[in-house]
Symmetry: C2
Subunit: 264 residues, 2 copies
């Protein structure tokens, strides 16, 4: 397993074909990296969940392949197949593709292939992930050690989520929660808040950041004791401070930040 490598993506695949798994950031075009913009300009095909594909401008020579949620493996196989046929394929994710998004799905699909079909050129192009965009709007709540947890229990048991919440509270991490609540999972976030209220003891600040960087962005800061499940939906990322997180009150919006030091 000891190997040096310069870039995961420089392998030879089918002649000319490649897959780039690209992060579009939280929503604003001002948060898309030039690297991702260049990949989209070079692409023949764009694959992804419909709302993310809709963020890519149509142009001659580019085929858009929007698909439904929860078909990540089909989408990944489709992207790999098109690249093997010579396509230059961008798989788009919101935020960063490596954080609860399409990069892992693509590698799951690749690993399931026979070894002699794994040579496809694949690059992962990072993006501004939701928790960091949300943290920036609120101040610097993730300025000290923190963790990121996907609250969807579609792919892991609730018992594991609860265990991680309790250990994260013991570690006094600030926490970022992705996918807090959806129509098909209306109850998990209520359980999350109950565990946190039990495990964290005091009134941590909780940040509900919805549609970050878009025109209808809202950032809401409440103490944990006042946080309620209806404050989150699938467009919300939730941040919870550590025991050290502070609020600076001033005219207008408060600033939430976690100091760098825990020394007395």
């Amino acid at each position: 397993m000891t190997q040096a490598m310069t870039q995961a993506g420089t392998q030879a695949g089918a002649p000319g074909g490649w897959v780039a798994v690209a992060g579009l950031g939280p929503g604003s075009a001002a948060l898309i990296t030039p690297e991702v913009t260049a990949a989209l300009a070079a692409a023949t095909d764009v694959v992804g969940y419909s709302p993310y594909v809709a963020r890519v401008a149509p142009r001659a020579g580019l085929t858009l392949h929007p698909s439904d949620n929860r078909v990540e493996m089909d989408r990944a196989r489709h992207a790999l197949d098109m690249a093997r046929a010579g396509g230059r394929v961008v798989v788009v994710s919101s935020g960063d593709p490596g954080v609860f998004a399409m990069a892992a799905a693509l590698f799951e699909a690749l690993e399931a292939e026979p070894a002699d079909r794994r040579g496809t050129e694949i690059r992962v192009l990072p993006g501004i992930t939701a928790m960091l965009a949300a943290a920036a709007r609120a101040g610097a709540p993730l300025g000290h050690d923190f963790c990121a947890i996907n609250l969807s229990d579609n792919l892991k048991p609730w018992s594991l989520i609860e265990r991680r919440l309790r250990l994260a509270a013991q570690a006094d991490f600030a926490m970022a929660f992705y996918n807090p609540r959806s129509r098909s999972r209306p109850d998990g976030f209520a359980r999350t808040l109950a565990v946190l209220k039990d495990a964290c003891g005091d009134a941590r600040p909780v940040i509900f950041a919805r549609n970050v960087s878009l025109p209808d962005e809202t950032i809401r800061v409440v103490p944990l004791t006042q946080a309620t499940p209806d404050m989150a939906d699938m467009r919300t990322v939730v941040l919870v401070g550590s025991s050290r997180t502070r609020i600076i009150a001033r005219d207008g919006a408060p600033i939430v930040y976690t100091p760098r030091s825990v020394l007395p």
Copy 2:
């Protein structure tokens, strides 16, 4: 504390003056967001640690204020003072300014001011943080729940770092380590590896990512049992897989990824 806000930065400060705490990403210009580029184009002053300020192109009307490491609070006060005098000041950080960087330092400085001096307009502009750039190069090692820990014990006791490492291992988080090793802290990373070898049991993949996105980037993947302290320095971010993290062997560099699902 319950308040809705649209953006942390839209407060009125001194006439015309503002501070933007901006993330320059890991090194490549292709990973700097248009939002940060626009802030630098509008700035009168750029403040930061010398190697980061050196990444900003000089131009007429822009004063560069490089400073030494470990003077974060002086730098933050300087930025606030210039903004109050009408300056448009960009404080530059590598990576994302909210992750072990200047945003928290700026808010520490702001909080220490008298309440009537806290009105300065401040925006935090997110960037591509080192762990996500490194993860993208290696595959998708942070594709499931993970944590980020600053291994510097300048601002926290080693005992807290060790406690967090052990709890993170119990939670089976993938882990990202910033500031693993420096000349002034030669021994902490050896202790970190010893704790991980004790707490994680089996041979997790460890990724040493140095100078990510720069021409001399190196990505090295080794099993935890073969990881040694000299593999890291201050230009390295270290990622450690969870118990579920997988390696896809293929010609050239291996791919490291953590599957989305932990279901059987």
